[in-house]
């Protein structure tokens, strides 16, 4: 398999601290209202306790990116070398096709520029031998950079509960699901 960079989201380690999300803002200073990385708390149907388990999600840099497929001006390209999906904002005409078509909500509307934008996987940092800002920032190594060509983690899943399953896109993310502790509630009087 060709090199394909991806995010490993270890929800069992993740503490939902939003450090990754803020590290992205720190690196790119997106306009207010534009969020490239979001930390979603899982519904209680998926994890029993509210706001206690999370998926940190940005662009999934899919094998078959719909954003790129629907873009009328080819403002997207997928890098041969590592599979990173790059959005070239200078080419973008703000038609919104990518925003509407991405089932993961990665491309976002920039209301100031009236264009789309999304997670770049920090490809400039990667090309300089650095880790993406979000991954470097994670205090508990819950967010990791992986190459799917060599990634071997038997417990990893691609479509955990709560993460939309779109096999035709083949998103470049893998997850480890969150466990619950033994909870001893106090006896109610």
């Amino acid at each position: 398999m060709r090199k394909q960079l991806g995010f490993y989201i270890d929800a069992n380690r993740c503490i939902g601290c939003f450090t990754c999300a803020m590290a992205c803002k720190n690196q790119y200073h997106q306009d207010i209202g534009v969020i490239w990385r979001q930390v979603y708390d899982l519904k209680t149907e998926i994890y029993p306790h509210r706001e206690r388990a999370f998926y940190s999600l940005a662009c999934n840099h899919c094998e078959n990116p719909t954003c790129s497929n629907v873009c009328p001006v080819k403002a997207y390209y997928k890098r041969e070398t590592d599979g990173v999906v790059v959005h070239e904002q200078e080419k973008c005409i703000g038609c919104g096709n990518c925003i509407r078509s991405c089932p993961y909500g990665a491309p976002r509307h920039n209301p100031v520029l009236r264009k789309a934008e999304k997670c770049s996987f920090c490809w400039e940092r990667i090309d300089s031998g650095l880790e993406p800002a979000c991954i470097l920032s994670c205090p508990v190594d819950a967010l990791q950079l992986i190459d799917l060509a060599t990634f071997e983690e038997p417990n990893a899943v691609q479509y955990p509960p709560g993460f939309p399953k779109f096999t035709s896109l083949n998103p470049s993310v893998r997850f480890r699901v969150a466990q619950s502790p033994t909870v001893i509630r106090r006896k109610r009087l």
Binding site: R13, I15, G16, C17, F18, T19, A21, M22, A23, K25, N26, Q27, Y28, H29, Q30, D31, I32, G33, I35, V39, T44, P48, H49, R50, E51, R52, A53, V112, S120, E124, R125, D127, S128, L130, A133, L136, S137, C138, P139, V140, D141, A178, S180, P181, T182, V183, I184, R185, R186, K187, R188
Partner: protein, 756 residues
């Protein structure tokens, strides 16, 4: 805070929050010409090879009141911060910061920032006018001279300062007060005093193992601590311990983020942690699982403690008090006693009660009787100040000749008071910081005529906010030193704009980990901001101009030189560095044993671990770590107001980047409590008690028990929410010994909720 005030401030600031609007605003003000055009521009994606090309790297350190005291690498281009990262040299920070740290660059560049000295026509009116530094200093200095002449002393000048900035040079604020004479000081600490005293009685000091050493624990109890929110970098050591096979137990009234990462979570009855610890101790005693050799060789009073346990404590009693089933208590007690080394992290939550000090002593006893004190991977971890051996040059200033002060005060001036044991005829007048409102309202002869607030936001963080609003009407002049128009600034007369960490020189140590970081000036101070050191010099200049000899603080200072003056050979030796300049290459770690009390030479009067402390008894408490009841409920629900992950006290929540992820406050209620009150998820509710109320949106969840309502401490810039409307200033049992004033029973509070 009223909506009208906020509107007025916004009007005066004339800016909204978007970056581009901010630039437009600055251009309109003529400020843009003075700063580089690349301000806050996003990365252009043209980096290619050499992403960091053209970037200067500076060293900074987070000076906030937080366990982690992160060491920061700041990347600057053309005088503007482009981004920041954690220092990779520190194994603790390991290249990362926290959610608050990564929002930092929005502080110096925030359009909301206070840019120049301002004066408010009529306190609380919102009618702010810009004045010059010279005008501001003249108003303040004249007032200080006036009150000194009227009262014959400077005691009418009171300082309210605490933990908004722990950078060492910020002790210039205290130094400035001293250099004016004997003044009034609001002393103590709202944070951790009951536990500090408890550890001093038991061990002779507060000293914790290296947090990185938690990885060596074979059993770990996280008790009233929530590092997943409040010390994110400590979590990796907890995970490391777990991965090596250690069992992690979390004890907390709330199913915290840390709790769900533990192996076992105990939902303890709030304030009953002491009963739980004593029940575990009794079982360990009964099973003969305590460490006889350790206890015999290294402690005093164990036999009496054992007698107390046998006579007055049972596991069933502990189970009844704490709500944790007896079988659970026995199991965990046995596991804890037999897994060696085993450690307990005592958080600052369980000591925020009227029985908080007694509780910490019970937990200490549990660690000690199992022989886990003084061992790597063990320890009763609370905090330490062992790496704080600075010169306190900014702090230690002489008084003006002939200064008259207060007679009869002795003892410490707070937990971070390093002024030593110097005995003068007079002293500063101490008031209890934890009863700031009450003290301002009742202090007389002279009353608090001038209040100086720095590194603190009492209106958002101190207790009984309604009373505080009343108290802030009393002084003749209130000066706030701030970066934003906080609720405290709104009730001040003059605000002086202070530098952020990126704009000043200082040095930072931690009360948790063993690292030391330098804080370089990475960018020039924005607008007319000055550091606390420079403000002190500016005031001294004006005082001496108007009345020569009235202030001993130097009138000309070089902030960088003053940072250097804080270093000494002791620090260099402790951190294994030749000079402060070595810290420019990255933070340094103290060459200390990872285990506190590893030499088993305790700082107590006996030199041993004291299960029975006569000193504690002399101070009016029980000599043994006996159970003490918590505060009696006065309303239907327990009110818990812990920290949010999006801020520290009142800081960070107001930043626009933080608002992206945390736009408004919520309170948390168990569905059982909600049902009986007809409350549905997402409803607007009123949380109220005998001292005040607050309205906000409710989230229903099982993370809180049915008898609890929880909401977080915060200060939002566009929302009047304030949890301190509901928290009164009832004292905890301990704290006066080491910090000068008892702590606050922050979690000994009650309230009820209704739908609005």
């Amino acid at each position: 805070m009223t909506g009208n005030n906020l509107e007025q401030i916004k009007k005066n600031l004339g800016c909204s929050m978007s970056r581009r609007k901010f630039l437009g605003c600055m251009a309109a003000m003529g400020v843009l010409a003075s700063i580089p055009g690349s301000l806050l521009r996003p990365m252009d994606g043209q980096a290619g090879n050499g992403f960091e090309q053209g970037l200067e790297i500076f060293r900074n350190a987070c000076p906030r009141n937080c366990y982690d005291t992160c060491s920061i690498k700041t990347f600057v281009k053309d005088g503007v911060i482009k981004y920041i990262e954690g220092a990779p040299e520190s194994t603790f920070t390991d290249g990362g910061l926290c959610v608050k740290g990564y929002a930092y660059t929005r502080r110096p560049y925030s359009p909301d920032r206070i840019k120049y000295p301002m004066i408010q026509d009529q306190r609380g009116s919102g009618n702010w006018r810009r004045i010059s530094w010279d005008q501001a200093m003249e108003i303040i200095a004249k007032k200080l001279i006036e009150i000194n002449e009227k009262d014959g002393s400077m005691l009418g000048l009171a300082l309210a300062k605490y933990s908004g900035n722990f950078g060492i040079t910020n002790y210039a604020v205290e130094g400035m007060m001293t250099s004016l004479g004997y003044t009034t000081r609001l002393i103590g600490t709202p944070c951790w005093p009951a536990g500090i005293d408890a550890q001093n009685y038991d061990l002779g000091d507060m000293w914790c193992n290296d947090p990185e050493d938690m990885a060596n624990a074979r059993y770990l109890i996280l008790w009233g601590a929530n590092p997943a929110w409040n010390s994110v970098h400590s979590m990796k050591y907890i995970y490391a311990a777990q991965e090596r096979g250690a069992k992690v137990v979390c004890i907390d009234p709330v199913l915290t983020q840390t709790a769900v990462k533990a192996d076992v979570y105990w939902e303890v009855e709030t304030s009953m942690d002491g009963a739980l610890a004593l029940g575990m101790a009794r079982h360990i005693l009964d099973q003969g699982l305590y460490d006889r050799d350790w206890v015999r060789n290294n402690s005093i009073g164990f036999d009496e403690f054992a007698d107390y346990l046998r006579n007055e404590i049972t596991v069933d009693w502990a189970a009844q008090k704490s709500g944790i089933p007896a079988e659970q208590i026995k199991n965990v007690a046995e596991e804890f006693a037999t897994a060696k080394p085993a450690s307990i992290w005592i958080g600052y939550g369980l000591q925020r009660h009227v029985n908080g000090g007694a509780t910490v002593r019970s937990v200490d006893a549990l660690v000690a009787m199992t022989g886990n004190v003084g061992k790597s991977g063990g320890g009763a971890r609370y905090g330490h100040l062992r790496t704080w051996g600075f010169n306190y040059h900014a702090l230690l200033q002489p008084r003006p000749e002939g200064s008259v002060g207060f007679l009869g005060a002795d003892g410490p001036l707070g937990d971070f008071d390093f002024s030593g044991d110097k005995v003068d005829e007079y002293s500063d007048r101490p008031l209890n910081m934890n009863k700031t409102a009450e003290e301002i309202l009742t202090t007389d002869e002279p009353p608090v005529r001038v209040l100086w607030v720095s590194c603190k936001n009492p209106l958002s963080q101190d207790f009984d906010r309604n009373k505080m609003v009343e108290a802030f009407k009393k002084p003749e002049l209130i000066v706030s030193v701030e970066q934003f128009f906080t609720e405290t600034v709104e009730l001040s007369d003059i605000v002086l704009p202070v530098t952020t960490l990126f704009e000043e020189w200082t040095v930072n140590a931690s009360y948790w980990h063993y690292w030391l970081s330098i804080n370089e000036q990475a960018i020039k101070p924005m607008y007319e901001t000055k550091s606390n050191t420079e403000i002190a010099a500016a005031l001294s200049r004006k005082m001496n101009e108007l009345k020569p000899g009235s202030c001993t603080y130097p009138t000309e200072i070089d902030p960088r030189e003053w940072m250097i003056k804080e270093f000494n050979q002791g620090i260099y030796d402790l951190f294994g560095i030749d000079s402060w300049q070595d810290l420019k290459n990255g933070p340094a770690k103290a060459k200390m044993h990872p285990a506190s009390w590893h030499d088993l030479k305790f700082g107590t009067p006996s030199g041993k671990y004291e299960f029975k402390s006569e000193l504690c008894a002399e101070h009016g408490h029980q000599a043994l770590p006996k159970f003490k009841e918590g505060r009696k409920p006065y309303d239907k629900l327990r009110l818990l107001t812990p920290h949010t992950k999006f801020g520290i006290h009142s800081q960070f929540v107001n930043l626009d980047w933080m608002e992206e992820y945390n736009p408004k406050p919520f309170c948390y209620l168990n569905p059982i409590a909600a049902e009986s009150r007809g409350i549905k998820d997402g409803d607007q509710v009123k949380v109220f008690n005998k001292i005040g109320e607050v309205q906000l949106e409710v989230k229903l969840t099982d993370i809180v028990p049915p008898d609890v309502v929880m909401m977080y401490t915060a200060w939002f810039r566009n929302n009047p929410y304030n949890c301190q409307n509901l928290v009164d200033d009832t004292s905890s049992d301990m704290g006066a010994y080491k910090t000068g004033a008892p702590g606050v029973a922050i979690h000994g509070q009650f309230a009820d909720v209704v739908k609005v």
